[in-house]
Amino acid sequence: MIAKGAVAIAEGRIGKPLEKYYAGRTRAPLQRSFIAFKSSAWLVVLSGFVEPVLYLFSFGFGVGALIGGITAADGSTISYAAYIAPGLLATSAMNGAIYDSTWNVFWKINESKLYQGMLATSLGPLDVALGEIAWALLRGLMYAIGFMIVVTPLGLIENWWGLLAIPAAVLIAFGFASFGMAATSYMKSFQQMNYINMFMLPMFLFSGSFFPLTVYPEIVQWFIKILPLWHGISLIRGLTLGQIDSSILGHVLYFIVMIALGLWFTTKRLNALFLR
């Protein structure tokens, strides 16, 4: 029994960049998620999608009816629902990504020993990190597409730039998934995991999803602008409202850095946890 297959495959990576950490098989852990997903709780999956839609209907149309329109940066007036829709889209991408990359990852690291099993094979920690993050990102993407399907017929996406909201949602989901997994890999207990929730809800409420940041004193505005969700919301709002300027690039860059940092820390941490 000579292991031609597995050995030949692994030796094929010798000399390639990051060979100790990356076997070029992001697909394998991703495929694992697909197989496991078939038998997962659909209701939970669905609830993540429904949540932002409920917000849209209650705040967008409810509160919107009370306050009328909102004056955008360029002086034009838009409906309140059209104002908050991009915020909710960014939030749903975030929620989808966070769902899989935090609690699920915590369970896989600490309870199910799943990564321990994966890393006893010829996979590397970067394969595992990328595969898991890709899966979380896909859920973010699903939620974003679902949300677009609801809001577009309502006339809340007024121009073609709005289509770019989907790839933007992928970027946002990627950023949150990779950061979420990195943070989770450092968490040692369920109590610590709750810190993530304690951080997420205020971020959602204050990152400009429901009203412009200008209502806050400047110092608070600065603080919020450090947080990722504000960048996500501003990016998507710029696209759906057709306000295209250089700030868009800044937001994109923010997420690219977030993705890179998250991947780097996750890989490092998986290596420390399971390979030393």
């Binding site: 029994m1 050995v7 692994a10 197989i35 038998s39 094979t121 010829s122 399971f274 390979l275 030393r276």
Partner: protein
């Protein structure tokens, strides 16, 4: 014979604690090699260092001629690992577990489809193929973990306490499977704290205690070297045992006093028993048996110095 694994002064420390202390050993191609030792001896630590999932603190280690720390993924591609605690994928079925594990190695579906069928037969899990792992018994899970380790056709199969927690019947089924693998030429490296398992499965073994190697040889040779052929076990009642130890000491090669019984090492147990009874001593129970690795261990771990 080529050596597949070779350790020189291999050491692992956790802070000040030395879990594996400068050990040397070689595992040859095609043999079944055992690490025998009590809890905390350092067996799992050695297995994980060989499996390229734990870094050593010092010393040298070569697996298939390569350093596991430099060629982790490549070395792991040669190994089938059965960890001490099952880490099967509880969200997947039996078949899916085998399939996805093969995918982790990069193996194709075409390769895996017949392979999985073969492994399900090997592990006697064909009826359970579409059952979630959670619904398997302990013995079935263990067999599945072994089958899973074989999906990549590894050259070396590493089993960390393969039968701990299984009932005797399940253990015998597993032993049978492992024998077959050995016949196919797979090199087996296993740890155990069952003496009978070591005797059954290992051609050669090291006896470990507190991170150190106490002895290394084949089971038969260890018994020959360190203990007599037979053991006579006597019970006089727990408070009386010590009364007779001195009296019995001259009659045999070596004596061990355990809390509940006295062990007398001799090459002819029946004759010794007749002699003892003839001299007017009347143990409550007596048993003559062949010496085992258990006795070797007793001798090696220091308690025999009471002699």
């Amino acid at each position: 014979m080529t050596s597949l694994i070779s350790a020189r002064s291999l050491t692992k420390t956790y802070g000040d604690f030395v879990a594996v202390d400068q050990i040397n050993f070689e595992v040859l191609k095609g043999e079944s090699f055992g690490l025998l030792g009590p809890n905390g001896a350092g067996k799992s630590t050695i297995m994980r260092m060989i499996g390229a999932t734990l870094q050593r603190s010092s010393g040298e280690l070569a697996v298939l001629g390569k350093d596991p720390e430099k060629f982790g993924p490549q070395i792991r591609a040669h190994l089938g690992v059965v960890p001490q605690q099952d880490n099967l994928d509880s969200e997947l079925t039996v078949r899916e577990n085998l399939y996805i594990y093969g995918r982790y190695f990069g193996l194709s579906k075409k390769f895996l489809t017949p392979k999985i069928q073969e492994l399900l037969e090997f592990a006697q899990l064909e009826e359970k193929r579409d059952v979630k792992v959670e619904a398997l018994s302990g013995g079935m899970k263990r067999r599945l973990t072994i089958a899973r380790a074989l999906v990549s056709e590894p050259e070396i199969l590493m089993l960390d306490e393969p039968t701990t927690g299984l009932d005797p019947q399940a253990r015998h089924i597993l032993w049978d499977r492992l024998f077959r693998l050995k016949e196919l030429g797979v090199t087996l490296l296993l740890t155990t704290h069952f003496m009978d398992e070591a005797e059954q499965l290992c051609q050669r073994l090291i006896v470990m205690d507190k991170g150190k190697i106490m002895a290394e040889d084949s089971p038969a040779e260890l018994i020959r070297k360190y203990v007599t052929k037979e053991v006579l076990e006597l019970r006089f009642g727990s408070d009386k045992n010590s009364q007779f130890v001195d009296q019995l000491r001259q009659k045999c090669d070596r004596i061990e006093q355990l809390p509940d019984r006295i062990l007398l090492y001799t090459n002819d147990g029946e004759t010794l028993l007749t002699e003892i009874v003839g001299s007017g001593l009347h143990p409550i129970t007596s048993l003559v048996r062949r010496s085992s690795l258990e006795d070797v261990f007793l001798r090696l771990t220091g308690r025999s110095l009471i002699e």
